[in-house]
Symmetry: C2
DNA sequence: TCTAGAGTTTACACTGTGTCAATTGACAAA
DNA sequence: TTTGTCAATTGACACAGTGTAAACTCTAGA
């Protein structure tokens, strides 16, 4: 039966999330994931062709479970550009901690793994669109600070929101997610909003 | 003679820089470095105990060759906090492209290599001090924007200047180093300087 | 009862790091 | 000239982790 198949697949994805979050995405091997899933290492390859494919599938699974679309809704429904920007940061800042383990693993795999690099880049490009949309909303309100083209502003916003920045502020500097969100809002407003 | 010893060591370091810069720090193996140095792979281990130690030594060698201290002098000699901040960004923005290959290799090695992670962290802590000093100068001029503690401001400045951010803006967004420097100055001034 | 599918065990190829032992070649001191 | 030392060489190997392959087991449906 294929239902058994899907159950096992899901079990692997759940186990991957669990163990990755537990270890902050570092040093987790296929055999660890297999053990956590309660199957043999080789059986994992019956469901995912490679480590990169597993990690990629895990991020997508995570987006589904965490209901990415619902979380994005508020910023998309925002009335003005300023509000949209703030809500987007709010969304992202609270989302990152929940996907950090998986994201970090994918990030670290970039070294050796071409496919992992591509998967990560794909994710980041999706987020780039979100940044661009928020900046565009600001721009069409005539609220984008002078000196910025929408393109450049979106590039900078995108870069500021990159996972390693969140990681640095929380892990190295000891910030809470709350502090991170509030601070990013301040920086972004002072940087991009007119006046 | 030990002079021969040192010559070979330097030859390895030079070769490491060359090949790392050439490949953007990705996928360079000990055997590649050995070939580039004109010696056997095993001979590299006569001079450096591990890959991490070699990479660490290479960054330090690079700092020497590029005369890190001379480059830091202008920002340290700045009259006011605002000027100091600008000159620090100027320094760092022009320095990163010159150490990118080595830095990236060290960054990528963090996955598997404990020692590489420690080496990188050490480097970053040194830079953190530079950020803190610049912010302190601004603060003691009474020019730090309201809402910031020096600690928080330094944390954010430090994070903004992290290598992956430069990497993202140049590699993914197609910015030049010039653009990067100018933009970072703008962002930092709007964010941290009063008024 | 036969078959297909999922999973298991065992084994192995491959890559890259790091270690070890035996050897060579050069140079310096006795 | 001999001896000792030191850098470097070659070749072999241990170890970890990914991915592949083959042969076997167990279950459930036709």
């Amino acid at each position: 039966m294929s239902s058994q198949n899907i159950e096992t697949r899901t079990r692997i994805l759940e186990a991957t999330v669990r163990i990755l979050e537990e270890h902050g995405g570092r040093g987790v091997r296929m055999s660890d994931i297999a053990r956590e899933s309660g199957i043999s290492r080789q059986a994992v390859y019956l469901h995912f062709a490679s480590r990169a494919e597993l990690l990629d599938a895990t991020t997508k699974y995570r987006d589904e479970v965490l209901d990415l679309d619902r979380r994005l809704a508020p910023s998309r429904a925002a009335k003005g550009g300023v509000e949209r920007l703030a809500l987007y940061i709010e969304f992202w800042g609270n989302y990152v901690p929940e996907i950090y383990g998986v994201a970090k693993a994918l990030l670290l795999a970039q070294d050796t793994d071409e496919a992992a690099a591509a998967a990560w880049q794909g994710r980041m490009l999706a987020m780039r669109d979100g940044c661009r949309a928020a900046i565009d909303a600001l721009h069409s309100d005539g609220q984008l600070a002078p000196g910025w083209t929408p393109k450049n502003a979106a590039d900078v916003l995108w870069t500021m929101l990159l996972v390693p920045n969140w990681e640095n502020l929380t892990a190295e500097c000891g910030w809470s997610t709350q502090q991170y969100v509030r601070c990013m809002k301040t920086v972004v407003e002072r940087t991009f909003v007119k006046e």
